[in-house]
Amino acid sequence: MKNLLSAERMARLKWQLLDLVYVLISIMLALVVGGIFLLILGSNPIEAYYIMFQKAFVSFGAILRRMTIYLLSGLAVAIPVKSGMFNMGGEGQIAAGAMTAAMLGSALALPAGIHPVVCMLGAILVGALLSSISALMKLKFGSSEVVTGIMLNYIVMYILQYLSMYPFRGSPNSAQTAEILETAKIPRLAEGSQASYGLFIALGCCLLFAFIMNRTRFGLELKSAGFNRLAASYQGVRVGVMSVLSMAIGGGLAAMAGAVEVMGGRYLYLDAYFTNYGFDGIAVAYMARNNPLAVIVTAFFLSTLKVGAVALDRQAGVSVYFAIALQGIIIALLVSPYLVESVFNRIRQKRLAKEKEPAIKTAST
């Protein structure tokens, strides 16, 4: 039986490595395509990439800070996907979570240990509620959660814009809320660093969800509901409940991203500070093949890319939008599994021909 255990662990490791290799190949491809784009614009791609990554690493704190957000918004997409739902509402959920944390952070007076927790819980609740709307609409009416998610994004953004402009305005000069109290702040990692201990919260979530997905009944039922609703229901899995729960978790995680950014860095809500993280989360999740552990890698990569792009702007005159364009290429490339898989299939076939397997008869005659 020990054999079974170690063989199984080996096999599982192999599958995860396979995912990683696949991710790396796609990243390479995207960088190449991006480089071509740069060439067309007249910049030297090698120089550009070098500056990008070099400058990025100089401001390591900025990378870590962004990574914190990406970890959570990536999970926010990855977990629902495991049960067959697509959480498009990340943008709205992050912003809503941020606003909630900002409001609770400035309006309530609580001791330093409890305050951040309360803000976090409030944010999670709001985010989970938002995503559950999409989930329930899909369940009851069959409406695409993608469309309802997008609609909610806009609705939430506008509501928050309004709130930060009028009723909860904290500053006469711009549409932002008041700064949160000291007790609500999450301490920075080091003096002068941009990143906060929120990073560990985010990393903890990744590990937690990796554990949940692989070692708990909840994770098993979630995955089964995502892969095959019918068979899962035959085993007593409440598929509808799983869908809604996974979306709620997704919404909660996204909201956490916003809350952590407020409590660990911004200390207030201004809508410009929270845009695009939701869509970035989709990229992070898909790059990682929706694997909670791989999300750590892709979150790091994407935030390096984004931070470096800012540097690129100042140095080489290529704007931040190039990073967005690159990201778009990455996503589009990533979801062409056909290409990479056909390569892997060829490798696998060669290996099968070597191995002596008993004749596997498939049911198709």
Partner: protein, 514 residues
């Protein structure tokens, strides 16, 4: 002199490590009805899909009506040369009309770009008349019964001026009477000069309809015989390769049903959902140590019955009685606590989550089982050990708990289902729905002997199958389901051969009172 219409020589194709066709040859003469006979997994469907252009062969030659076929070609090419295939699962667009389905791909046109619905209907009407097939061109296909849908498929072929008609397991969805109708039609088509190839695994149909039969086994073709010169025994021996001692139930050894039923299904009703036949008053008893076989054509309520017993479809009326308990609300947990194990009809869609491993699939069925789970966290060690034991007991290959179910063979997939369902503690009854569909001989034997072993251990078995032979050989009692009701229930030995067919088709009917 009969011309050779189809000639396939030494055709080979491989899927991964499986050689589906190994230097197979086939020769079909013009105007004959040729049966392609073999067990599930013999390679017959694959061979025909190669002929039709859906798969590309690795080697071998194909000549259709004198035309040498290139290595790779598409169905469009085969169609042009007069070859058509009526698939086992109909390729019909439910929301389109009969005429639209028939003309798709070769539409009747007014000008170069526009299509004419009127011309299409007219053409369909004339075809129907010419071949004697009654169809209404404007009907929506989704609303038609199976037998009629099959006629639409055949008409699709006739519309294209087919010369060779391939039918893939055409009788699985038909009543015995509808099968007769189909054969009459085929003979009339033959008289009009059409060559017919029937892919089947049913011996009696081969003997009934075909002129010649080519037998295939395990990817190779074994023999070609004149049907009139052979018989069922010979064919079966060639098909299977050895004397197969059929697993069967000793008939007549039991007494009348004075034994207490372990489960009584009383007046079960379900709500009608869409086009699926709902239960309209099922009364059925299950006895310990006895197999009750439910015979019937697909679509007469079997699916609802299984779902009710699984717990995924709620009863609108009626109850399930066991001992002194009376169940009205049949949830999955409830059914499982009662001790009912389910082997569903479609192992890939209902039985297993293909993308999960063998271990995970088995584990799914053991919710809240403290042996493997504490507070929601899975104890991997004990789970792996348990699964390892099951793999050995059921001889599941590959022998790894982390094998992904999508990549193991149909027979082994079924074994995983069996392992999960039949090893439960407190199991009292097993519901097996089409348990050997799509399996090869070895797997069929294994499944049947497993079920019968359970029977001898006192388990009650409910066997639901559209394969009459299976029902007849395996059952102590036979119940016939039609339109959501049990229309006959007798000891297996008390039924005559035709009687079952008649009940299935509705020509005979006796309401069963429990």
């Amino acid at each position: 002199m009969p011309e050779t219409m189809i000639s396939m020589k030494d055709v080979t194709i491989r899927f991964g490590s499986l050689t589906a066709n190994d230097k197979v040859s086939l020769e079909v003469r013009e105007g004959e009805i040729m049966s392609l006979l073999g067990e599930n997994g013999a390679g017959k469907s694959t061979l025909m899909k190669i002929l039709y252009g859906l798969y590309t062969r690795e080697s071998g030659e194909i000549v259709i009506d004198g035309n040498v076929m290139p290595k790779r070609y598409a169905p469009a090419d085969a169609i042009k040369l007069g070859v058509s295939m009526v698939p086992q699962h109909f390729m019909l667009i439910d929301s389109f009309t009969v005429a639209e389905n028939i003309v798709l791909g070769e539409e009747q046109q007014i000008s170069h770009l526009m299509m004419s619905k009127e011309k299409a209907c007219a053409k369909v009407d004339s075809l129907c008349e010419r071949f004697g097939i009654p169809l209404s061109p404007k009907q929506i296909v989704g609303e038609l019964p199976m037998g009629t849908k099959q006629k639409v498929e055949i008409l699709k072929a006739l519309y294209r001026g087919t010369k060779v008609l391939i039918l893939d397991e055409p009788t699985t969805v038909l009543t015995p009477q509808e099968v007769d109708e189909l054969f009459v039609l085929l003979r009339s088509l033959q008289r009009k000069g059409i060559t017919i190839i029937i892919i089947t695994h049913k011996l009696n149909e081969v003997l009934d309809i075909s002129d010649r039969v080519t037998v295939m086994r395990l990817g190779k073709n074994m023999e070609v015989l004149e049907t009139s010169h052979t018989n069922a025994q010979e064919l079966s021996q060639i098909m299977v390769g050895k004397e197969v001692s059929n697993v069967y139930v000793e008939q007549g050894e039991d007494e009348a049903k004075q034994q207490n039923a372990v489960f009584r299904l009383v007046n079960l009703h379900t709500k009608r959902e869409g086009e699926r036949c709902n239960l309209q008053g099922i009364n059925l008893d299950l006895f310990p140590g006895k197999v009750v076989g439910v015979a019937g054509i697909d679509g007469n309520g079997q699916t609802d019955l299984v779902e009710v017993l699984t717990g995924t479809k709620a009863l609108s009326e009626g109850e399930i009685r066991t001992g002194d308990q009376c169940i009205l609300a049949n949830t999955v947990e409830e059914m499982r606590t009662l001790g009912i194990g389910i082997i569903p009809e479609d192992r890939t869609q209902q039985g297993l989550v293909l993308d999960l491993t063998v271990r995970d699939n088995i584990l799914l069925g053991y919710k809240s089982d403290t042996r493997f789970e504490k507070h929601g966290i899975i104890n991997l060690q004990s789970a792996n050990k348990y699964v390892g034991d099951l793999i050995q007991k059921y001889d599941i290959r590959p022998a790894r708990g982390n094998a992904v179910c999508r990549f193991i063979s149909g027979g082994n997939q079924q074994k995983v289902v069996l392992a999960r369902e039949l090893e439960r503690t407190g199991l009292k009854a097993v519901v097996a729905s089409q348990p050997v569909r799509g399996l090869d001989v070895g797997a069929i034997q294994f499944t049947h002997s497993t079920l019968l072993k359970l029977r001898s251990e006192g388990m009650a078995i409910l066997l639901i199958s559209s394969d009459l032979d299976e029902i007849k050989t395996m059952s102590d009692y036979i119940a016939i389901i039609r339109n959501g009701r049990i229309v006959a229930f007798k000891k297996a030995s008390d039924f005559s051969k035709d009687e079952i067919g008649l009940y299935m088709g509705g020509a005979k009917s006796e309401e069963v009172t429990a």
